[in-house]
């Protein structure tokens, strides 16, 4: 029993406890937080972010970075919105958008794998191209609003619980699938190996280029999915999806790295991180705090996270030295 208690309070699960404490606090402090519509809103926005950064999780775990996901998501949302506006059936439009987004991810992957370009630079370049194209086809920075209320958009937009549930199930399903791949297949094994010791991984014959290419493709694909769902939820395509989406996505991944695998980004962690952020954002307004306080809290959490990771690494290294004596 004692062991169970201590294992529940290990640093890996700290974020979960913080999350639960936060939810309880909001529920007591602000009755409007408990309202069904607020919870639905929180689930909705967390599911969009969660999908957008699912691929990013693996990229960061393998030691790279992708800052282009908001731009790619923005492009995908604009493509979807315009396609639907121009009479493309809603069953087809998302696939066009996702394909377009994936091309950009493969391009970054190609630049990184073939030209050994730092991933930060490659994705900054690809991101600005994606944003540029999104602005050009949208004809400016203003969001493209959906005027035709086509079937599913209407249902989703008005918050039909059934469709919401379906979407939630899809998100959960993909997370479970990713969790399986991450922990029980060679792909998962190799991505963590790459992130921890690139030299050793290459010597072991892990195909770095293939993994990098496919991860960046995958990340862009998932970011595009996020963009598509954004259109379906909020009935608009946003050419510039930077700012909060970027901070939220990165925070979800880096906060998530604290959970389960103590210091390494992992999909379950990202999932918890995304929900955490959504509830935080949706809880601040009811208790009378401004949105920007959220930004500061997120930043502080991120720094807090890396400090904890740094301390645990330091302790581990010290223990290794002690063991060598």
């Amino acid at each position: 029993m004692k062991r169970l208690v201590t294992s529940l309070f290990r640093p890996q699960y700290m974020l979960v406890w913080v999350f639960l404490a936060m939810v309880v606090f909001f529920c007591i402090e602000a009755p409007s937080f408990r309202s069904a519509s607020n919870l639905v809103r929180a689930v909705k926005s967390s599911s969009v972010i969660a999908v957008m950064v699912l691929g990013l999780t693996w990229i960061v775990a393998s030691g790279e970075i992708d800052v282009s996901f908001p731009s790619v998501a923005g492009l995908a949302s604009v493509v979807t919105a315009l396609a639907i506006e121009n009479g493309v059936p809603w069953t087809v439009a998302p696939f066009i958008a996702i394909a377009a987004g994936t091309v950009f991810g493969l391009l970054s992957g190609f630049l990184i794998a073939t030209f050994r370009c730092p991933s930060l630079i490659a994705t900054i370049a690809i991101g600005s191209i994606a944003t540029g194209i999104a602005c050009i086809i949208a004809g400016g920075y203003a969001p493209v609003r959906l005027t035709s209320t086509v079937g599913i958009v209407k249902t989703l937009g008005s918050g039909g619980i059934g469709v919401q549930l379906l979407w939630t199930v899809i998100v959960l399903g993909s997370y479970i699938a990713f969790k399986y791949i991450q922990d029980h297949t060679t792909t998962g094994q190799h991505l963590y190996a790459l992130g921890e010791n690139r030299q050793a991984s290459l010597e072991a014959g892990i195909r770095e280029k293939k993994i990098i290419m496919s991860f960046f493709g995958l990340s862009a694909m998932l970011a595009s999915c996020g963009g598509v769902v954004w259109v379906l939820f909020y009935a608009q395509g946003v050419p510039r999806m930077e700012g909060t989406v970027f901070i939220d996505g990165m925070t979800a991944v880096f906060l998530g790295a604290l959970v389960i695998k103590a210091g390494k980004p992992n999909v379950i962690g990202t999932f918890i991180g995304a929900i955490f952020l959504a509830f935080l954002t949706n809880g601040l307004t009811p208790i009378g705090l401004e949105d920007y306080i959220g930004s500061m809290i997120k930043g502080a959490l991120m720094i807090f996270g890396v400090v904890i990771i740094a301390i645990s690494r330091y302790r581990l290294a010290k223990r290794a030295v002690a063991a060598a004596r």
């Binding site: 029980h184 297949t185 060679t186 998962g188 921890e196 050793a200 010597e203 072991a204 014959g205």
Partner: protein, 504 residues
């Protein structure tokens, strides 16, 4: 003639400014242990890297079991059946032993997401332990294992390849204890009997006669001799001669004058957990030699003295004045300079020019207004250092990475000399330096000792013995010998460093 296990012919590998391999040949028979010898920079490690796919040869042929192969990547080498165990095997620290053993080969399935069956892998790893019985917990993360255990994991990893026919062991015993070396040799014999050919790289000549059937000596990027270890006339001295290409005794300068006044005096310097209270002095006209094997604490000693690591106790005096050295910057400001042991990581800024490196520690000497670099002065300063140390470089604007190892080391030494310090500590001063340059560096150290305090620290027993006037030996973090060099023999010193016991 019997078919060879491995044959390498006409291997050429060039690096900017250096021809590391120049038409090298190497023949390996089935089921033999073949020692590969040569001083640092002779080309033996480059040959191994070509064989294991880390480097691509510029020219040459490799034939394995009668079939010509091309080794374009580490994976290609592994696929062909060539496994390499490096001195410091690279691993994934948070992965367990068995996960590291099968890294990159977890599953034979070629599906999109091949499943890892960890239980099966663990069982297979335990199966390997039957072939290579070492006492090791395969379910612990390797980051928590000791160096020796990591090496065992690396050998297990090599054994896990079904088709392995050639095993390369790159200085496997350098971090092992004597008992472990015995176990390792048992394993090598067993592997040999099972038909695996082994290339064994080492610096320890004793081991060559213990374990190897044949040996090949490399010098200047070529193989200069291959023979049976049991052949007549082959002994330590003959091998050393082959490796060096000249007689040993000419390398070291004559011993110094009787000691003058103290320049540096260190009392009870200690770093908890690494080395215990150590006292020593450096005098003008006199070289203090500190010998210790890897792990004896000499590296920590140097870094603590220089302020890189923070001492837990001890007092340092330079010219009778007590100084607090909390960082290398403090040390240099007080006249203490360390020529570090790992040149590439700690000594030089490789991408930058000779001039950049030479003046880096004392830029005030060429600065106008306190911070503007006068480039003419800088060039002159760098050229004077190039001439003083006989650094072979086309220009002081050439990047240090383009120079040979010996000249790089001279640049680092030049950086030290340019600070015009009082005390110089040379850590492993000739690692990766060719024989010709070695003699030059030794002479320079001797010249320097005339009016500066000089300490030479290293794991090369012969070098320390050949250079110093006073010998100190460290073993597991404590000083086990502290005597004038004239009162010890080389063999005594080596034995003391190996066992920690000073015997007459």
């Amino acid at each position: 003639m019997e078919e060879l296990s491995l044959e390498m012919t006409g291997i050429v590998k060039e690096f900017p400014g250096v021809r590391a391999l120049d038409g090298a040949e190497f023949k390996l028979e089935h089921g033999e242990v073949h020692a590969l010898l040569g001083i640092n920079g002779a080309g033996k490690s480059t040959l191994i890297k070509v064989l294991s796919g880390v480097y691509r040869a510029d020219a040459g042929q490799i034939t394995l079991n009668g079939r010509q192969i091309e080794i374009s990547s580490p994976q290609a080498a592994i696929d062909a059946g060539i496994a390499t165990v490096y001195q410091d095997p690279q691993m994934i620290p948070s992965f367990t032993g068995y996960e590291n053993i099968f890294l990159g080969a977890e599953s034979e399935s070629t599906g999109l997401f091949p499943r890892i069956r960890r239980k099966k892998l663990l069982a297979r790893a335990r199966g390997l332990l039957e072939k290579f019985p070492v006492d090791i917990d395969l379910t612990r993360p390797v980051g928590e294992l000791q160096a020796v255990e990591k090496e065992s994991i690396a050998i297990l990893r090599a054994l896990s390849r079904e088709n392995m026919s050639v095993l390369v062991l790159d200085e496997p015993t350098s971090i092992l204890t004597r008992k472990e070396i015995g176990i390792l040799f048992e394993q090598i014999r067993m592997l040999k009997e099972s038909g695996i050919s082994i290339i064994y790289i080492t610096h320890r000549l004793d081991e060559v006669f213990q374990i190897a059937d044949r040996l090949t000596v490399f010098r200047d990027g070529r193989n200069v001799a291959t023979c049976n270890t049991s052949a007549e006339g082959i002994d330590h001295a003959r091998i050393a001669e082959l490796m060096l290409g000249r007689e040993l005794s000419h390398v070291y300068p004559p011993k110094g004058q009787p000691p003058d006044d103290d320049v540096l005096s260190v009392k009870d310097l200690a770093l908890a957990g690494r080395f215990s209270e150590t006292s020593f002095t450096a005098k003008r006209g006199w070289i203090l030699g500190v010998f210790g094997l890897v792990g004896s604490g000499i590296d920590d000693l140097c870094k603590t003295l220089f302020g890189v690591l923070h001492r837990t106790a001890g007092v340092t005096e330079i010219n009778g004045r007590k100084v607090a050295l909390a960082s290398p910057a403090d040390a240099i400001a007080n006249g203490l300079f360390l020529v570090p042991g790992d040149r590439r990581a700690e000594g030089q800024i490789s991408d930058e020019s000779v001039a950049f490196n030479v003046i880096l520690s004392n830029m005030a000497r060429v600065a106008g207004l306190g911070f503007l670099i006068r480039r003419r002065e800088e060039r002159l300063a760098a050229w004077s250092m190039v001439e003083e140390l006989d650094i072979k470089t086309p220009d002081v604007a050439a990047a240090v990475s383009l120079l040979s190892g010996g000249n790089q080391q001279k640049v680092v030494i030049g950086k030290g000399l340019y600070t015009d310090g009082e005390v110089y500590v040379f850590q492993e001063p000739t690692v990766g330096v060719d024989v010709g340059a070695k003699a030059g560096i030794y002479e320079m150290i001797r010249r320097l000792s005339a009016d500066k305090g000089v300490i030479v620290v290293g794991s090369d027993c012969e070098e320390i013995y050949g250079l110093c006037d006073h010998a100190m030996v460290m073993y597991q973090g404590r000083v086990v010998m502290d005597k004038p060099a004239s009162e010890v023999r080389l063999e005594q010193m080596l034995l003391c460093g190996l066992t920690g016991k000073a015997r007459e």
